[in-house]
């Protein structure tokens, strides 16, 4: 966009401009504080002892830094009757997210490739139906899915959760890849066909090497979605197979014993760490996925 900031009309006085500029920066800083405050409070609280929390102020820095809460959160906090901390559930989430992300991304890539480059009659209808599936409130499939998982013997298992995440992730992954591949001229496939390459060869040798950016976007999107999921996790898991979000909620809302706010905060940070890390490392792709996933149908 053109340079708006540079061309403030001359009629405005210089002093006014500087004041306006200051106001702008102050406002931006105030909002930055609003967004950072909860994170700050979480971190400081997690580093305080319970005594300090009770006597001190919410926004004060810890007088004495202690990592006890982190240790408890990781390996000692109680999720109901179990007291093993977040650790086993963290690994459940990893075990669940990694295959689900890989499978749904691969399927999405193939689907997108077919829909964008091998158009056939009805492909657009299929795409619309899949796209639509992205928008349903999942509550409407919870009951039959619970029964189906039961019938398949997958109820309360990690493979069952992987299955659910793959099924309901395909719509988005297909959308991402389809929108990426439609921008590639169809002559590329024609040239490769004349060169003698078949469907999978063209995908493997020509399209996949082109796809790194969209693979990154899709993997990040799927990983964030699956890692942060709570609804499927709480509906389709049982004690021992719960993902980290469910375990976190159980720790925080378990009614037994003293409320250990520092442990709650440490556990929350642990649960948030993987996606935060992804955001910090690959924020550009993260945002691209968010915008692509929501703006363009």
């Amino acid at each position: 966009m053109a340079d708006l900031a540079h061309s403030t009309p001359r009629s405005q006085s210089n002093l006014g401009r500087i004041a306006l500029r200051w106001l702008l920066y102050i406002l931006l800083a105030v909002f930055a504080l609003y967004y950072l405050m909860p994170l700050f409070v979480m971190v400081t609280t997690s580093l305080k002892s319970l005594d300090e929390i009770r006597t001190g102020s919410l926004v004060a820095l810890p007088r004495e830094v202690t990592f006890d809460a982190w240790k408890t959160a990781w390996s000692g906090a109680c999720t109901g009757i179990q007291c093993e901390g977040l650790q086993p559930y963290f690994w459940n989430s990893v075990l669940l997210a990694v295959p689900a992300v890989m499978i749904s991304t691969l399927i999405g890539a193939l689907n997108g490739y077919v829909i964008a480059q091998w158009r056939f009659k009805g492909a657009n209808l299929i795409f619309s139906l899949m796209l639509f599936g992205c928008f349903i409130p999942f509550q409407v499939v919870l009951l039959p899915m619970a029964r189906l998982l039961g019938m398949m013997g997958l109820a309360g298992t990690i493979p069952g959760l992987i299955f659910v995440h793959v099924i309901y992730g395909i719509g988005f992954t297909t959308l991402f890849f389809r929108n990426y591949y439609v921008t590639i001229p169809s002559e590329l496939v024609k040239a490769a066909k004349v060169d003698g390459a078949n469907f999978f060869r063209i995908f493997w040798s020509i399209f996949l090497p082109l796809s790194l950016p969209i693979i990154v976007v899709t993997v990040i999107w799927q990983f964030t979605q699956i890692w942060n999921d709570f609804l499927f996790g709480v509906s389709f898991s049982q004690a021992g197979t719960q993902p980290v979000t469910v375990a976190l909620n159980n720790i925080v809302n378990s009614t037994t014993g003293v409320k250990e706010y520092n442990v709650d905060m440490a556990a929350a940070i642990i649960a948030a760490l993987p996606t935060l890390l992804v955001y910090v490392v690959a924020g550009k792709y993260f945002i691209r996925g968010l915008t692509a996933g929501s703006v363009k149908g």
């Binding site: 053109a2 708006l4 900031a5 702008l24 931006l28 909002f31 967004y35 909860p38 409070v41 609280t45 926004v59 399927i107 689907n111 077919v114 091998w118 056939f120 299929i126 619309s128 139906l129 899949m130 639509f132 599936g133 928008f135 349903i136 999942f138 509550q139 409407v140 499939v141 919870l142 009951l143 039959p144 619970a146 029964r147 099924i167 395909i170 078949n198 469907f199 964030t224 890692w227 942060n228 999921d229 709570f230 609804l231 709480v234 509906s235 979000t245 976190l248 909620n249 925080v252 706010y261 556990a267 929350a268 649960a271 948030a272 996606t275 935060l276 955001y279 910090v280 968010l290 149908g297």
Partner: protein
């Protein structure tokens, strides 16, 4: 034979996903719709009994609260997040030197799980040790901020946390929109001597209508699906004060063992989503085929 295979391979590759979507999306919606018309309780039953579940649903005060809450929460959440997002985007569009850092700060909550967000805000808002206690500690003894445990105000804490989580994302959408406006039009307006604020109100913002629509759709969709945040922040309480349709459905399905109620409430949720999303998707897809 290989000729036939080569010609049909694309369809065969797409077929499993297509079937999966048909069964697990549309089939399951059908199942839920069917069950919502039966007297199912703990176990699903398949004899249709008309709209009794919907009658029960609409007669239930808890559902009434949930729908009211959805309306209050949805309206406030969407309006505040859009206004705040637009404001932040316009402010960030003024050649801010530290834009990258600020954008990162505004947007990071979107990477968090709603459960994490809920946990954090639950702690911050708790009257005993959170903001209320802190402000009192500064000497304002009469300061009161107990919304999270006050049935009349608890729903607003959900709004507060949801806005915190999503407004940065709305800002990112709007910022992208602001920057995609044709630079030549803006230059032309500047040459004509139109003041900056008029350029925004008369040229840039009207040209972003599609982005407003997208943001609205996304936020509305988030609002209707909101479940995790309520569970983590208030657990639906105090009492049923912060129940939303999603938590109502979950409670009926998994703790009350009332499948009929769960199914009918899920169907209502879906109808609300449809009413918002279908016109949008339809226009999007049609625009695409026309272009």
């Amino acid at each position: 034979m290989s000729e036939w295979l080569e010609n049909h391979l694309p369809k065969m590759v797409l077929a499993p996903s297509f079937i999966a979507v048909l069964v697990f999306v549309y089939g399951f919606i059908g199942w839920t719709a069917w069950v919502s018309l039966t007297r199912s309780k703990l176990l699903p039953r398949y004899e249709i009994h008309g709209f009794i579940q919907y009658d029960r649903l609409f007669a239930s005060p808890r559902w009434d609260t949930a729908m009211n809450n959805l309306f209050i929460f949805g309206a406030l959440f969407i309006v505040i997040a859009m206004v705040l997002g637009l404001l932040l985007a316009i402010m960030l569009d003024q050649k801010i030197r530290t834009e990258g850092v600020i954008r990162t700060i505004y947007l990071y909550p979107m990477a968090l799980s709603m459960i994490v967000t809920g946990t954090a805000w639950k702690w911050i808002l708790n009257p005993g040790l959170g903001i209320e206690a802190t402000v009192r500690g500064w000497g304002f003894e009469n300061f009161s901020f107990d919304w999270v445990v006050n049935p009349d105000f608890a729903i607003y804490t959900i709004v507060l946390a949801a806005v915190w989580q999503s407004s940065g994302f709305v800002m990112a959408l709007f910022l992208a929109g602001l920057r995609s406006v044709d630079g030549e039009i803006i230059k032309a307006a500047q040459v004509d001597g139109i003041p900056t604020w008029r350029i925004y109100t008369a040229i840039i913002i009207p040209s972003m209508a599609p982005i407003f629509l997208s943001a609205f759709i996304v936020l509305a969709h988030l609002a209707i699906k909101s479940f995790d945040l309520v569970i983590a922040l208030t657990g639906g309480g105090p009492g049923y004060a912060t129940d939303l349709p999603a938590t109502y459905m979950y409670a009926m399905a998994f703790s009350r063992g009332d499948i009929g109620q769960a199914a009918s409430s899920a169907m209502i949720m879906m109808l609300v989503v449809f009413a918002i999303v279908v016109p949008y998707l339809y226009s999007e897809l049609r625009a695409k085929t026309d272009g």
